[in-house]
Amino acid sequence: MAIEAAPMFDTDELVLNMGPQHPSTHGVLRVILRLNGERVVDADVVIGYIHRGIEKLTENRDWTQIILLTDRMDYVSAATSNLGYCETVEKLMEVEVPRRARYIRTILAELQRVASHCLWLGTHAMDIGAMTVFMYAFRERELILDLFEEYCGARLTYNCMRIGGLPLDIPTGWGRKVRAFCDVMDSRIPEYEELLTNNRIWLERTRGIGVISGEAATALGLCGPPLRGSGVYRDVRKDEPYAAYDEFEFDVPLGTNGDTYDRYLIRLEEFRQSLRIIRQAVDGMPDGPVMGKVPRLIKPKAGETYHAIESPKGELGYFIVSDGRSTNPYRLRVRPPSFCNLQGLKPLIIGHLVADVVALIGTIDVVIGEVDR
Amino acid sequence: MEITPAHYALLSAALFIIGVVGVLVRRNIIIIFMSIELILNAVNINLVANARHLENLVGQVFVVFVIAVAAAEAAVGLGILLAFFRNKETVNIDEMNVMRW
């Protein structure tokens, strides 16, 4: 902690320790700020407070048990973590996943994206002081959790995918309920927009705050909405389609200014695009099995592979090495989008005020469970 | 016992002296500023007491001016103090021995 050790040479400077216990660091992120008045001169982002060694744990679990561990990484978006892991192992084993399973996976992943963005919108608005948006967004997230509960019985850590397909087919009438949810959500997005998009205070708090250029964002390795907010076209769903994304039509929203407001607009647009995908998937749902032909004992042949999906936070990649002998991975490494996006926090916050730090932690949408693993 | 202007004048004198002692004895310049405020208040008490005694509100008008001067003095004084503190890291009056920095 270089900042702590440094002497306070200027009397106007104040070292402020934000977190790990702080209402707005979204978990146990710790940011050490050096302030001049209220302006951030220097910052140090400290992570690791809920490091649980998930990557190491996987080396002692068999391949199916690991799905359960992936739930605990990005705990507000468990389905996409499941999806990424399962697809990586399937790629390693060269298993064919039935089309129906891929459709359902897509629906689950997009519902999860909407749920995760709801949580992001609520907390982000809450950080900037708009408390009602929080409740509105959670109201809709609740509907999604109900859908998940009906599908797999869990509300947060779903464990809802299996290598080679899905553990369960969708319940009867579930598709209709998803359609109904899409209609509800469509009518609710204008409510958020009404409260925020043209709100003068919201504009003043987000426009021109945390501007990052496309080149800088690429150089920092940002991904997901923070990268697209700077106008860089990168979406794994389009670039390297997985699940059933190649069969659906959707747009990838791009920002122009790369500021907090653009990132906000992009996520709002992603709500709409996700709903568009869900509708297409529900309407075109094929019949058939939901589980592919997978050996009873999962034991991929020796080799290594990397596979990425677009989680709500950005590019979620898994790199897996199998030695082909044991029933657990030799090495599993996650490329978590939150961790990579957190790299952008320090350059973003320097020069801004304390209040903006909170807004910027919100705008890059980190889940510390995924950062620390 | 009736309270005469003399009582107020004595109160005023005593407060005045407390202020003077503060200015002469303390070395913390903020305390010295505050002592000056005490002195000004002592004067004000005297003015108001005599304004009532003489049934002439001019005394009170003077107090308004004194308060204005006190406000100006505090603003400029503390501005100087801040500028000084930024350069020398002290508020000790004895270390204020340069005319420029």
Binding site: T132, R139, L353, V357 | -
Partner: protein
């Protein structure tokens, strides 16, 4: 003796208790209204529709452990909440709740100035709380608070000057009576001043969108981060008492205080015989204090509504609004008022 001591003491007791009790119900109201705004129910467990929550909340706060941080300045730490609450309560001594002398504690000829000056002391509670806690977040918050309160106090005071010019008196009762005489509430005569005072009031009571000194998400609660139990409750009381003060002042200065609405319906429609059925004299049957509290309630509701709707300003934006928007408008308002008053009327 009775007139001089007993009756004022009785009135003071009634007002103090009234304020403190209404604060607890204010909290309940706020929770309920915000809950409705957010499509929730709010407190429902204690009593019918959660009404008794207003009583349970203070009991909880009183029973909680009262912690003093080890390195805090103990005297200051205890004094700060008191310094914060007392001015908020003292102000009520000149608020005219009704037309009759029975409904206000006293009417002094510098009433409005008295309110301004006493509320300006409230800032000590906040500054000292931040300083005495010996902790960085409260200190930052209290520096913010001091700057904010002083800035907005200037704006509000400047604005009130134009009201004083219009009314020609500093007495609170006198101002309401001036509105009775002219027949127009100053809210219609001085709409700009009303808006400025209301915005300034939001800022002085640290309400959203100006709640920077206690911004939970930035400063973990602000100047009262280190407080708990009863001492925290005092800050809480002070904030809500201040809200009631602002609502009462706005009511008295701009919306006719205890006067009934449409004071001069005859003056508005002098020749329209068809409107004679609009005889609003029956409104006189409602006691004056009911009008006062009714109007006050509207503004308190507005406070809560705003809190449920708006995000928070940033510190520099807040200062910019205070100094570069509110104060110039207030000054212009004074000039316009003076010109109109001297040459045009």
């Amino acid at each position: 003796m009775i007139d001089l001591v007993i009756i004022p003491l009785f009135k003071i007791a009634v007002v103090l208790n009234g304020v403190l009790v209404s604060v607890t119900f204010m909290v309940l109201l706020e929770r309920k209204v915000i809950a409705w705004a957010q499509s929730r129910l709010g407190p429902m467990r204690v009593g019918p529709w959660g009404v008794l929550q207003a009583i349970v909340d203070p009991i909880k706060l009183i029973l909680k452990e009262d912690i003093t941080p080890t390195k805090a300045d103990k005297w200051m730490f205890t004094l700060a909440p008191i310094l914060s609450l007392v001015p908020a309560l003292v102000v009520f001594s000149v608020v005219p709740f009704g037309g009759d002398a029975l409904f206000y504690i006293t009417d002094i000829n510098v009433g409005l100035l008295f309110i301004i000056s006493v509320t300006s002391i409230g800032v000590y509670g906040i500054i000292l709380a931040g300083w005495a806690s010996n902790s960085k977040y409260p200190l930052l918050a209290s520096l913010r608070a001091a700057a904010q309160l002083i800035s907005y106090e200037i704006a509000v005071t400047m604005t009130l000057v134009s009201v004083i010019l219009t009314a020609g008196t500093l007495s609170m009762v006198g101002i309401v009576e001036a509105q009775q005489e002219t027949g127009f509430w100053f809210g219609f005569v001085q709409p700009v001043a009303f808006v400025l005072v209301f915005i300034g009031g939001l800022a002085e009571t640290n309400r959203i969108p100006f709640d920077l000194p206690e911004a939970e998400q930035e400063l973990t609660g602000g100047f009262h981060t280190e407080y708990s139990g009863m001492r925290f409750a005092l800050f809480f009381l002070a904030e809500y008492a201040n809200m009631i003060v602002i609502a009462a002042v706005v009511t008295a200065l701009f919306w006719g205080g205890w006067l009934r609405p449409f004071p001069s319906v005859d003056a508005l429609f002098p020749s329209v015989g068809a409107l004679s059925f609009l005889n609003l004299a029956f409104l006189d049957l409602i006691p004056s204090w009911v009008w006062f509290f009714g109007k006050m309630f509207v503004f308190l509701y507005l406070f809560i509504w705003i809190r449920a709707t708006l995000p928070r300003y940033r510190y520099d934006q807040l200062m910019r609004i205070g100094w570069k928007v509110l104060i110039p408008i207030a000054l212009a308002n004074i000039v316009v008022t003076a010109v109109v008053k001297v040459w045009l009327l």
